[in-house]
């Protein structure tokens, strides 16, 4: 399938989540993304969950998702031959994505300043916790670190308990999604100027840019914004139901009476409660009127019935719930993709329908699966490849399994 990025070649040296996620989106839209891995693979291959809880570098959930649609080449860039091959690959590339600690690639001769003369058109995208400059540039970070520094953690959780991280790795995904925008904007400009440049993406800055308006509360008014748990507003927050939790959202106020209808509790329609609106003093009283109905109904039913009444309720969806939801089924959001080791799984695709259908879901590569074909395409014949292999340029073994398509969007 011809995608909007078909013809764009990406050398993806990045590891873990943020950089690879940028590469995943590019691959799904048609780019030829060559994931260059160390001989023992991107360390994310060691993160589970795994099928049957059996660790396997080919079947970790993160790897399968983040490296969809890419080709995998193993190169030992600690060796001279490995570095020479990387340089040859960069000669064919439009984009380089990397996520090493600032200065690491420069120590091997692959810093932006070292490459820009030889490869003036190369868009060099660095995705790191703190960016390339500044006092924290050499600092180490995992998800919780940048999340804490950003201010997001301080405002999550109960006021009298410790700040709480959000579940999952949203800072990493978000930085990758931002890197995707920045990369495409760089390519857009390059099509006119013919010039590449260094794009410096920071996870910390991405997380900080999510503060909604709490930064403004300080900047505009000098206020320290506290944590408020699940919220102190009446009829607004996470409530238990028969099979989990629902999100009760009692706005807009003009629809208040519909909550009474939904929960079959006429007393709730009392104007006293409506006027209380989002104020908290009647919270316990209102909760007591809502809970009997909530805990006897299931989340999907509550959500559907509330929405039919124009109430913007949600529910705390687990993956099992997502697969049951009719809207996601209708839109064909999940694509079944087969993988030679992990088997068939349903993957999230992308979050939009494009009228021209630009997306294709493909599987993640086996470690080093494409080393042979990619190195051959650089003009190395079998003898040369054997020589490079013997010299340790590729590290581990190579495979030969063909890619299969998993759906389009």
């Amino acid at each position: 399938m011809e995608g909007p990025l078909t013809g764009t070649r990406v050398i993806d040296l990045s590891q873990y989540i943020a950089g690879p996620y940028c590469g995943r989106i590019m691959a799904g839209f048609g780019a030829d993304v060559i994931k260059v891995e160390p001989p023992d693979g991107d360390p994310i291959r060691r993160w589970g969950p795994f099928p049957e809880a059996a660790p396997n570098p080919e079947t970790g959930a993160f790897h399968l998702y983040l490296n969809q649609g890419k080709r995998s080449v193993t190169l030992d860039i600690e060796t001279e031959d490995g570095r020479a091959l990387l340089r040859e690959l960069l000669g064919t590339a439009d984009v380089l994505i990397e996520s090493f600690r600032p200065g690491m690639l420069a120590s091997l001769g692959f810093g932006y300043e070292q490459l820009k003369e030889e490869f003036p058109g190369l868009l060099y995208v660095s995705v790191t916790p703190f960016g390339q400059t500044g006092p924290y540039a050499q600092y180490h970070a995992w998800e919780i670190t940048t999340y804490a520094l950003s201010g997001l953690m301080y405002i999550t959780g109960e006021p009298d308990r410790e700040p709480l991280k959000n579940g999952g790795y949203l800072g990493q995904y978000g930085a990758g999604q931002n890197a995707y925008i920045a990369t495409l904007a760089g390519l857009w400009e390059r099509a006119v100027s013919g010039l590449g440049q260094h794009v410096d993406v920071s996870v910390f800055e991405h997380a900080t840019s999510l503060l909604e308006m709490t930064d403004m509360a300080y900047i505009y008014a000098g206020q320290i914004y506290p944590r408020s748990g699940n919220g102190a507003r009446a009829a607004w927050g996470i409530y238990p139901c028969a099979d989990g939790f629902v999100g009760v959202v009692s706005g807009p106020l003009r629809r208040w009476a519909n909550i009474a209808t939904l929960m079959e509790e006429p007393i709730l329609a009392n104007s006293r409660y409506q006027q209380a609106g989002s104020q908290s003093e009647l919270r316990d009283e209102i909760d007591a009127l809502m809970l009997p109905w909530l805990i006897t109904h299931e989340k999907e039913e509550i959500y559907q019935k509330a929405q039919a009444l124009g109430l913007p309720f949600g529910y705390v969806a687990t993956p099992a719930d997502l697969f049951k939801n009719e809207q996601l089924q209708y839109r064909g959001f999940f694509h079944e993709v087969d993988h030679p080791v992990a088997g068939k799984l349903r993957y999230p695709s992308i979050a939009a329908h494009f009228s021209d259908g630009l997306w294709e879901s493909r599987r993640a590569p086996l470690l080093g699966e494409h080393t042979n074909e990619v190195v051959a395409s650089l003009g190395h014949d079998a003898a040369s490849r054997a020589q490079l292999s013997a010299a340790g340029a590729f590290g581990g073994a190579t495979h030969g399994v063909s890619a299969t398509s998993g759906g389009t969007r």
């Binding site: 999952g168 857009w188 900080t208 993956p319 993957y347």
Partner: protein
């Protein structure tokens, strides 16, 4: 035949990789404006169209109640004479945008809107499913004046399908997208919302990237595109590994507080000072060595040498780390941990992050002067470019601040034509509620 992009004058300071693009922004609140903020910060010209009858809700009410609990969002704590121009929420997300205020439901207003749509590369709307279309501005209609347009809708669950008309706030989207099911204190029986309405920025960041994708497609094929985004699906994209993990394990994930599935220890530890904390996670044996050295507890190294051991004895390790941090200021503890290669960071509150030395050194908080709110800093973006450096060069528009500018400089209308549109009530820069108040008090 359309003339897209590159044909509008740039404003002082406007630069970045996208200066040849024009975006017509009909979105409100957070998700849509977040998307156009990203494109505007990359240099695109963003023309935000607003209505004086229904203000963007994050401008706040035209006449705030005297005991407004939202008072904290007004510049210098003062709603002033024009509170709708002084709200920090609106002013954060609408910098670098041109503001046009007009009634697009009046025929003359509709005509002006279509002229703008004709020169735009992109139109973005985030009304509820189908609302913009029912107002007469569907993709098929606008495409009639601009065949290669990129048109973006971003309702909660996408257009079409059984939930097309459902309404959704960010607080519900983060639940529906799988974030909340994994957020909460370990051992608690109820999960926890995040500190923000996560669904909105996730949708916004997705949308900006998809717009760029469609523009690349247009450059290749000459074809425009309709992008039908689902905020819920965008959120699921950021929780994807749990969706795959569920299929592998056959069971749903749960919340584990500040712990981590792949690292131990991982947590938040109290420091000296009120509500002061440091967060850290140990992702390798080398980091663990660094941590034990930093807190001078090398015995822990021999007691708990492996990840498995550390995960098993997490409580004991937490106690040891907490005893050390409790004697130290968070910033000092962070510096010591980082010197030992430990991924530690303080839990900044909103004041601390604004004064963070790293962000300051990177110029993350540029200052802009707003026409009535004064000079203030604003949060920047996650990326920097070495050559076509993007910029935050202009504050958010006061309501209708650029109406005349856009009609004159971009649409080429004469002063007479513009005056006529003002007289006809098509262009009106004062909120309807204020006009009514004036009419009632007889001071019109």
């Amino acid at each position: 035949m359309t003339v897209s992009g590159g044909s509008v004058p740039l404003r002082p300071g406007q630069r970045g990789p996208l200066t040849d693009l024009v975006v017509l922004d009909c979105s409100m609140v957070w998700a849509g404006p977040y998307a156009t903020k990203l494109l505007g910060d990359l240099g695109a010209t963003i023309i935000k169209v607003e209505a004086n009858r229904q203000l963007d809700s994050v401008r706040g009410p035209a006449i705030p109640p005297s005991s407004s609990s939202a008072i904290g969002l007004y510049a210098n704590n003062d709603p002033g004479k024009d509170p709708w121009n002084r709200n920090g929420y609106f002013n954060k997300y609408n910098r670098n945008k041109l503001g046009v205020c007009m009634n697009i439901l009046m025929p003359e207003g509709r005509a002006v809107f279509m002229e703008l749509a004709a020169i735009a590369d992109v139109v973005v709307e985030n009304f509820g499913g189908g609302v913009f279309e029912r107002m007469g501005f569907g993709y098929d209609v606008i495409r009639g004046v601009n065949e290669d347009l990129i048109f973006v809708s971003m309702p909660p669950s996408g257009n079409g399908g059984p939930e097309a008309k459902y309404v959704g706030y960010g607080v519900a989207i983060e639940q529906l997208g799988g974030i909340v099911a994994r957020t909460g204190y370990r051992g608690d029986d109820t999960p926890m919302k995040t500190g923000i309405n996560y669904g909105d920025p996730i949708a916004g960041i997705h949308t900006a990237g998809y717009i760029m994708t469609a523009l690349m497609h247009r450059r290749k094929t000459g074809r425009g595109q309709y992008i039908d985004l689902s905020q819920r699906e965008a959120t699921i994209n950021w929780t994807a590994e749990s969706v795959l993990g569920y299929q592998m394990a056959g069971q749903d994930p749960t919340w584990i507080g500040n712990r981590d599935d792949y690292m131990a220890p991982s947590g938040v530890y109290r420091c000296t000072g009120e509500d002061s904390w440091i967060a850290l996670a140990v992702g390798s044996d080398a980091e663990w060595r660094g941590l034990c050295t930093a807190i001078a507890r090398e015995n822990l190294l021999t007691d708990y040498p492996t990840y498995e051991r550390r995960a098993q004895h997490h409580d004991a390790i937490d106690a040891a780390i907490g005893a050390w941090t409790a004697q130290r200021a968070a910033a000092d503890a962070m510096a010591i941990f980082q010197q030992h290669g430990v991924a530690a960071g303080i839990c900044s509150d909103n004041r601390q992050v604004v004064h963070d030395p790293h962000l300051e050194a990177r110029g993350f908080w540029p200052e802009v002067r707003h026409s009535t709110a004064g000079s203030h800093i604003l949060a920047g973006e996650a990326w920097q470019y070495s050559r076509t450096q993007a910029a935050i060069y202009a504050a958010a528009p006061a309501l209708g601040e650029h109406t005349d500018y856009v009609l004159r400089e971009i649409l080429g209308k004469s002063d007479e034509e513009i005056a006529k549109l003002h007289e006809a009530g098509v262009l009106e820069n004062t909120p309807e509620a204020i006009l009514q108040q004036r009419a009632q008090s007889g001071t019109a």
